[in-house]
Symmetry: C2
Subunit: 249 residues, 2 copies
């Protein structure tokens, strides 16, 4: 087993909700290990995740789970806020911290809805078994929900009196921007045509995405072999039939 200070437990093979935690750990340059990516012989793999679930004095409902010594916590937004605060990726005043958590949770809501575009009926059944409902839900998600969620964050950027249109909170980067970045990345992978229509309505959000991608630690992580690409096992899946039939470009 690794002796890294922070041990992330998440299913190997997909970015998923684990990626929101990974980005904070990377931006913080934390001493961490991705347990699911270790070989089983080193206590890793999917088996390690399954063994952890339901165990211990405070069981986790689902991954991601973060282990730090004896402390084991779950729920992606909870983990991200904990790490963001611990590593100073958000100002220390209580009001700003509460707003950061609010943004993190709003991104989490959007992520859950993105997932349900391909699984609108039953999470444990195959996409192919719920394709008609998926088409209907995806259309609503593309035309109503993506503009609403991203439009909200565009308003947040504009409303922030000290951000110059660039920052969600105050006058500098804060950890919820990593979550918003990952949401936009995921939506762009899953719904490229829909996103080409929405992008011009949310220029501030798209510029933020670009700035986050260029942060040195994020760029280094994303070009490393440790970063796992989006695929059709994850939350953000690209099924052409769920995207807009036409791009605007």
């Amino acid at each position: 087993m690794s002796d890294a200070k922070f041990q992330l437990y998440y299913w190997p093979g997909l970015p998923g909700r684990g990626e929101f935690v990974r980005l904070v750990l990377e931006e913080a340059a934390a001493d961490w290990v991705d347990v699911g990516l270790l070989p089983e012989s080193q206590g890793g793999g999917a088996r390690a995740i399954m063994n952890l679930l339901g165990q211990g004095p405070v069981p986790a409902y689902a991954p991601p789970v973060l282990k730090m010594g004896d402390l084991v916590i779950s729920q992606a937004a909870n983990i991200c806020s904990y790490l963001g605060e611990r590593f100073g990726l958000v100002p220390a005043d209580e009001g700003t911290r509460l707003h950061a958590r609010q943004f993190q949770l709003t991104v989490a809501d959007a992520v859950a809805e993105a997932h349900d575009t391909h699984h609108p009926i039953a999470v444990m059944k195959y996409y192919e078994e719920q394709k008609d409902a998926a088409k209907a839900r995806a259309e609503d998600f593309r035309t109503q929900r993506i503009p609403k969620f991203l439009g909200y964050f565009e308003r947040v950027l504009r409303a922030n009196p000290r951000g110059g249109g660039r920052y969600l909170l105050g006058s500098d980067f804060s950890y919820p921007e990593l979550a918003l970045f990952q949401l936009v990345e995921g939506l762009s992978y899953a719904f490229p045509n829909a996103m080409s229509r929405v992008a011009h309505q949310v220029p501030g959000v798209m510029a933020l995405r670009q700035r986050i991608a260029e942060r040195p630690r994020i760029a280094a992580y994303r070009s490393s072999p440790r970063a796992q690409p989006f695929n059709e096992q994850g939350i953000f899946r690209h099924y052409a039939e769920l995207d807009d039939p036409n791009a605007t470009k």
Copy 2:
């Protein structure tokens, strides 16, 4: 406008996600006002909620919103955790607080799925326009998701080394128990037949629900005219066709 210290903004006419906040405010005996229930002439009603959304230096995506002086925060789980910590409804140590937030967020996930049983395709369309998908999703929710979520909390009660099977955290009541209570109340309203099947599998959860209902401040609030009943405008809706066709009793 009321001069209460805590002003809750939530749609009048349904318990909804606002109820999770109300229960914490009531248990804390906080000085609070339900702005949506004030007459419009006193700055209340649905209009006050609509006016607040999108306003201010940190806009809210959706209600519930809590206003305390100049500080305005949103996301129900965020508000509940803030209040629970501020009013000492959870021990002060960091680990326990992180676990309380984890439980609060897991309840919030179950609530979102309960909502989607009647709105599996599009939140802004009528139930009647998505009835077939609703039937399929509700069946999965009843048979897979309710047992999974409540079974998780049953395991949490049993795993807590100091709780004697009675408490989610440590050896006493803590604020996420209010959320779990409200979840069970909502599920019992929406899916009485399904819940009659599940109840015997989660005796600890059902006993917790009973203990919370008997807490003096919760009982007083729930028998007051301020408490709004479940109905078919809210998150937890009773549509007979979405419940199990048969009760077990």
